[in-house]
Amino acid sequence: MLKNIKSVGVLVAICSVIALLLALTNQITAPIIEKNSAAAANKALLEVMPEGKGFEQVDMSKYTLPATVTEAYKETSGKGYVIKLTTTGYGPGMVIMCGVSADGKVTGAVCLSSNETLSKEKEYGKVFAGKDAAAVEATDTIGGATMTTGAYKNAIKDALTSAKVLGGENVDVRTPEQIFQDNLAAALPAGEGKFTKMFLTEVLEGVDAVYSADNGAGYVAIVGEEFAGIEAEAPTAYPAIADAIKAMTESTLTDVDLTAYEGIHKNVTSAKKTAGGNYVLEVKGAGYGIVGGDEYHPASGEYIVIRVSMTADGKIIDCLTVSQAETPNLGSVCGDESFSSRFDGKTEADIPAVEGIGGATMTTDGYKTAILRCFAAVQILEGGAE
């Protein structure tokens, strides 16, 4: 028993001595280690904010910041903020450090690590130096790396927004899509936040787009910056728009026999005439262009199917991509409403200038060619080449 107590006593004594030595060592090394760690962290921060004197990490829990922001540092002399972001392109992975000056301009941006296929976009961060939010928005993405550089650009925008939030400004950090959906819901609360974009077959004066509530509660018309809520069964502040929508939804479309006309391209598969004298056409677009006089799509064998409504005098009312099987994340962008809506209100002469899809020139060309064939078809239909 005594032997055991002695053994334990020796071990305890040795542990105590070692603990004392460790405490002494820690006393000596802790400040140096802390200084080294701060210097290492500052090195990365200084790269994007060379003017910075010192940085302190910001407690992000006190702020509502964009989801891409992972860390935020405040320059101690008030020169601005450095924001660390993790963003997505083809997949999660780009870690970007962005410095933002006190006056809201990018002081520098670097990509610290990435799982993506970075080549010339590796240096992309440099183009943002000295730019404010508007200039960043106007910065071009790199063709062939649209998704990656687009994500990079969005991250920089998030960094600028974050710096504003951290600086105490009241900034909306929701995504544009979230903001849009919130606006729809606010314009027509009875719609319970679920809306579907309507395909317009008639010209609704001043109206850019109409969304119908999925539960049938009514419509929201986008009039410039305004979201006009129109309840189905209640008086509305927008009677003219309400009547126009009602007329459009209640009118019947008349089939047009395309075989009765010569010269209409075979890819224009159907045409209907509206009560207002407009046309609704469906056309097939070939994403991979034209080979040997015909069009084909080697990847999927499927065409892009586009629905276009157009006035008799050749002005697009609405454009919708019905189906597509283009390359994911590249040509597939043609299926997004953000792309098809670029054709709204355009005439034949405007089509070549419509902004294409970065990195998907063939898809863009195929799409535009199909739209131009609709113009040609309407001209024939109106010209009476029967």
Binding site: K6, S7, L11, I14, T25, T29
Partner: protein
């Protein structure tokens, strides 16, 4: 039994009883940290410091530490000194600290350290234990450095991070990988065998009696000894 002089104690670890190339101890850090000369030298010197301190401390306490409690005591002492060395490296050599990573902590379980504590420091006076620690540490460092030179120069066409341009087209990248490290390790063991043939205590070292833990492993050692 012949008593080794202080010089013998200091020098035997360098070649004759080199812990890595003759006693085949510390294989894990040997393979892991010999990709670069910097890392190998750093690991060798860190292990040397821990060996020296733990040998001296254990030798000082050899008459106090009870037989039944010696392994926990040795581990506490070794782990303590490893942490002390780690903190100093982290403070004063941050680049080396980043290079060695977790292997610095793993010196705690490096069998060279526990082996010398059990085999030598617990039975010998302070000066000889210190010399043993220094000698074994130097031997460990030399072995690691030699291996790292082969792997880095031939595998990566660099020496301590400096490019060797004329070797660039001929570099054998395989050597920088783990299997390449094992190959170089084997070749160096063979080389030391050739150099020390008849001199190194190979039979003893490779048999059960040569195990650094032989003294603590009475049953196994007796059984193995009987077999021989």
């Amino acid at each position: 039994m012949r008593k080794d002089s202080n010089l013998d104690v200091l020098t035997k670890g360098i070649l004759k009883e080199n812990p890595v190339l003759v006693l085949i101890l510390g294989t894990c850090p040997t393979l892991a940290t010999t990709g670069t000369v910097d890392g190998a030298v750093g690991m060798g010197l860190a292990a040397l410091a821990v060996l020296l301190c733990s040998n001296v401390f254990i030798s000082l306490l050899r008459n106090i530490i009870p037989e039944t409690m010696r392994i926990p005591c040795y581990i506490v002492i070794i782990a303590g000194f490893v942490t002390i060395v780690k903190l100093f490296v982290q403070a004063y050599l941050p680049d080396l600290y980043a290079t060695l990573g977790v292997y610095l902590d793993l010196i705690t379980v490096n069998c060279i350290i526990l082996g010398r504590a059990e085999m030598f420091a617990s039975k010998n006076p302070v000066v000889k234990s210190a010399l043993d620690g220094i000698g074994m540490g130097i031997g460990f460092t030399i072995a690691l450095t030699a291996m790292a030179i082969v792997r880095e120069v031939l595998g990566n066409a660099t020496f301590a991070g400096n490019s060797i341009a004329f070797l660039e087209p001929y570099k054998i990248s395989f050597l920088t990988k783990a299997p390449g490290g094992l190959l170089v390790y084997g070749l160096l063991i063979a080389l030391v065998y050739v150099i020390t043939k008849g001199k190194a205590p190979l039979k003893k070292s490779f048999s059960c009696a040569g195990c650094p833990n032989a003294a603590t492993c009475h049953t196994a050692c007796t059984e193995k000894g009987d077999e021989q």
